[in-house]
């Protein structure tokens, strides 16, 4: 692997031990994928490290006194301690949670990380088409690749840090145009109405597609040309729950998919599937793991809601009340919350009994970790990510109802899962 003078100096320890370690990790990853050289990255996104002492120790070893070299944002925390009471976090857990969260926040501040605490950080750093970056968090990486046309491999927590403090990444995988072409064509069946797709439909679609992809990049053919970034957001993580392809194309919509030919790089698709009503319904069924219709929590905003989504939720809740038995959590980032507050959406939602949180991961974070303490056994959501991740990781203790946004809200009001 070719290293330029600066990279060699980094690897030989002339820029300090932490940079050396980071460069060593990046070189090893580069060797694993036959990268010819390093490239400069302009932006990194980190994951907020988890709570165990073992992982925090690893984080500290990697970061030490290092400062980030490029603009670097960070994923949500597991809790928003400022709103612990409303979340219902028991007093007994507070001290421990404070300890582990505050040490992490302090460490980020020290590194110069931009404390965005969101899985949708694209409001603070605008990526351009073709820009090379180093991002972790599947939703952030895949949105950047697919929707924004930026180039990032799916980084791990460790390599994202290494890139943030060296400004480099090995030049392999999705950084190379030749690896970004579609391999599998997924046609949307004629019995579906993509114009009317809810966020849940997009998630279910990607979840189903992911099962047949392996490492191959899909090209969706037949989705609505009016789909929004929020729709695309829900397609990201579900895809990699069963595949390892961190990219997708939507014909006529995403920047690298103007025509089938261009999207497949002039080659024929290796494989072709149709997703119709039957397949989509089966994805919904698979993602519904709950038994009883009683629900404890309705969790929206996985990934973090944008302003339109919060507006839609507010609209559905206007003049209604969330059932006393149900918690309604909506995750977003703080700038979106500021705008939603101005538009009166937050008041509408919170007057109805819902809570809108920034800075934290409501679904796979808080709901999963605190399910026992908060007595959460059944969650309703429009997020295929949450529905795909939580039941397995909670080892069956938590069941999920997965459905469209309006069904989730109607269920929050009734206190029971169902459409009416």
């Amino acid at each position: 692997m070719y290293l330029n003078r600066e990279e060699k100096r980094m690897l030989e320890g002339e820029c300090g031990e932490l940079i050396q370690k980071s460069m060593d990790l990046l070189v090893k990853v580069g060797e694993a994928y036959d990268a010819e050289r390093m490239i400069e990255v302009t932006y990194a996104h980190l994951i907020a490290w988890e709570l165990t002492d073992i992982l925090f120790e690893l984080f500290s070893q990697m970061t030490g006194n290092a400062k980030v070299r490029i603009p670097t944002t960070v994923n949500p925390l597991l809790f928003n301690m400022g709103r612990a009471k409303e979340l219902g976090i028991p007093e007994s857990s507070m001290t421990e949670l404070e300890r582990i969260l505050s040490r992490l926040i302090k460490a980020h501040d020290k590194m110069g990380v931009i404390p965005t605490y969101t899985c949708h950080p694209h409001y603070i750093y605008e990526l351009r088409i073709g820009e090379h970056v180093a991002l972790t968090e599947s939703n952030v990486v895949m949105f950047a690749n697919a929707w924004l046309g930026a180039r990032s491999n799916i980084e791990g927590a460790a390599t994202a840090i290494a890139s943030a403090i060296t400004g480099k990444t090995p030049y392999y995988g999705l950084h190379l145009i030749g690896n970004r072409y579609g391999k599998v064509q997924i046609d949307i069946g004629r019995d579906l109405k993509p114009d009317q797709f809810d966020y849940a439909d997009y998630g279910a679609l990607a979840f189903w597609a992911g099962k047949s992809l392996k490492d191959r990049i899909p090209v969706y053919n037949g989705l609505s040309r009016k789909m929004t970034p929020a729709h695309a957001k829900y397609m990201c993580t579900p895809q990699i729950l069963h595949s390892c392809a961190a990219m997708f194309h939507i014909l006529g919509v995403t920047p690298e998919a103007p025509t089938l030919e261009a999207t497949f790089g002039g080659k024929k698709p290796e494989d072709r599937f149709i997703i119709g009503k039957k397949q989509l319904e089966s994805a919904f069924e698979t993602l519904c793991s709950a038994k009883g219709r009683e629900i404890d929590l309705v969790c929206l905003g996985c990934p973090h809601c944008n302003i339109q989504e919060i507006g839609e939720i507010a609209q559905l809740l206007r003049g209604k009340k969330v059932s006393r038995q149900v918690r309604l959590w909506i995750g977003t980032n703080e700038p979106t919350r500021i705008l939603a507050k101005r538009m009166g959406f937050i008041d509408t939602i919170e007057n109805a009994g819902g809570l809108v949180f920034a800075d934290m991961c409501a679904g796979t974070g808080a709901a999963l970790r605190m399910s026992e303490a908060l007595g959460i056994r059944t969650v309703a959501t429009n997020s295929a990510t949450l529905a795909g991740v939580v039941p397995i990781r909670a080892r069956g203790r938590v069941g999920v109802w997965f459905g469209k946004t309006r069904v989730c809200i109607a269920s929050a009001i009734r206190g029971k899962w169902g459409n009416n």
């Binding site: 409001y123 046309g149 009016k226 101005r342 538009m343």
Partner: protein
């Protein structure tokens, strides 16, 4: 070919959706006809400019009513906008009007009209971002059709994202938000987007060392010479960041009304010079060197008094990176008590800036990080504020601000790098 409308558009035009939609569609159809559009295109977003920008006159007669009535006509019977709608900064942030010295002007208070305008648009669903950089909230995709005014937003959408948007105006942006349509001409046609004017950065200039002001000067100079032809910048760094591109986009509309540019190796439609030019020969070529850079600086500078009364930064609205740079350049020093230092940005950016400690650093030094408003257009471009606060000389790192202060305002301008501006704020003198 006459402009043909879809069934829905015909219904809009015939008044079936109410008179506001009808008036809006009528305006768009007339514009479309004037420019030979054959049809309307559906858009996903529009960016409005608040009409009360007109209601604060330097003559003390706020004809707010004219514009309020006009907006009422255009929105009669419209309960909400049809597309994602964002909105430009107000002339003043009503919450900070007193603190910033707007309420002692002796003219009729503009804040009431500002609040009225904000509420009106908010009720119709406009996202109250109040920034000229709405791309920080709404990310369009390549090839997506948009509506919208504000030259900074338009140039950035076209240049940075490859979205398709004409440089519209206040009325058509509103009509676009109301109808969800714009006439298809200009930037909506791929063919009109190719570059025509090649701008080569002279080897004598190290563009890697360009300050924001240098990018501004480059674009301002080119804009003046372009005569409406879309420039292709060749020879700039391939690693331009958002802030640098923002400064390259901002002056394009100011001096020549250009809706976009190409930056070879950077922007989506300009991987190579040939592609940016659409395979054609450039109509003309500009060599940009030290001499041209200096000429632009001369044009943007009208002051000769070293004493600086005000420093304005954040035109277009500052990014987080710029807030950080201002904080760092202040380096714990105080802004001279004789100088006003305003850094304009969006509230959403200010929030993160607060978390990073940048806002505190700037405000502890005596500067203001102002949000939701333009940091210069009302204050320095209208006479009353400058006269009241005796602001004879304003320093800025923005070509757009310098241009408008010169043309509409009464103050003289110094134009230079952020560093020069911050130093001037501390010492009270331009060096």
């Amino acid at each position: 070919m006459p402009l043909s409308l879809t069934l829905e558009e015909e219904h809009m035009l015939s008044g079936d959706y109410g008179s506001g939609v009808q008036k809006s569609m009528d305006l768009l159809v007339q514009i479309g006809e004037a420019f030979g559009a054959e049809r309307m295109v559906e858009i996903s977003s529009s960016h409005l400019i608040p009409y009360e920008i007109m209601s604060a006159s330097r003559f003390g007669v706020p004809p707010a009513k004219w514009f309020e009535d006009w907006v009422l006509e255009m929105t009669e019977g419209v309960s909400s906008f049809r597309v994602v709608t964002t909105i430009n900064p107000a002339i003043v942030n009503p919450q900070r009007a007193i603190e910033l010295g707007f309420k002692e002007l002796g003219e009729i208070d503009p804040t009431e009209s500002v609040i009225k305008g904000m509420e009106k648009y908010k009720r119709m669903g406009a996202i109250p971002v109040y920034t000229c950089c709405p791309f920080l909230i709404f990310t369009p995709r390549k090839g997506e059709h948009l509506g919208g005014a504000e030259s900074v937003a338009v140039a950035f959408y076209n240049t940075f994202f490859g979205a398709k948007v004409n440089r519209e105006s206040g009325p058509t942006a509103l009509a676009a938000a109301v109808t969800g349509r714009v006439p298809e001409f200009g930037m909506h046609h791929l063919d009109s987007r190719y570059g025509q004017l090649l701008v080569e950065i002279n080897r004598g200039l190290d563009s890697n060392k360009f300050t924001y002001a240098d990018y501004n000067a480059l674009a301002y100079y080119v804009g003046e010479k372009a005569q409406g032809r879309i420039p292709v910048f060749y020879g700039l760094s391939q690693n331009l960041n958002v802030t640098q591109i923002k400064y390259l986009c901002a002056p394009l509309g100011v001096s020549a009304g250009l809706p976009m540019c190409h930056i070879v190796g950077v922007t989506p439609e300009a991987p190579t010079v040939e592609i940016a030019l659409g395979g054609r020969r450039a109509e003309d070529k500009i060599e940009f060197g030290v001499e041209q850079l200096q000429e632009a600086y001369r044009q943007l500078t009208t002051a000769n008094d070293e004493r600086v009364d005000a420093v304005t930064i954040g035109c277009p609205h500052a990014t987080l990176q710029e807030l950080g740079e201002c904080a760092q350049l202040l380096g714990g020093e105080k802004v001279s008590p004789k100088v006003k230092l305003w850094v304009g940005t969006a509230e959403t950016i200010r929030f993160i800036g607060e978390r990073m400690g940048y806002v505190k650093a700037i405000e502890d030094a005596g500067g203001f990080v102002v949000t939701d408003m333009c940091a210069h257009s009302y204050s320095y471009c209208r006479g009353a504020f400058s006269r009241k606060h005796a602001l004879g000389t304003v320093a800025t790192n923005s070509a757009k601000a310098a241009h408008y202060i010169q043309i509409i305002g009464s103050a003289k301008t110094w134009f230079g790098s952020t560093e020069q501006c911050i130093k001037a704020a501390i010492s009270g003198r331009w060096q």
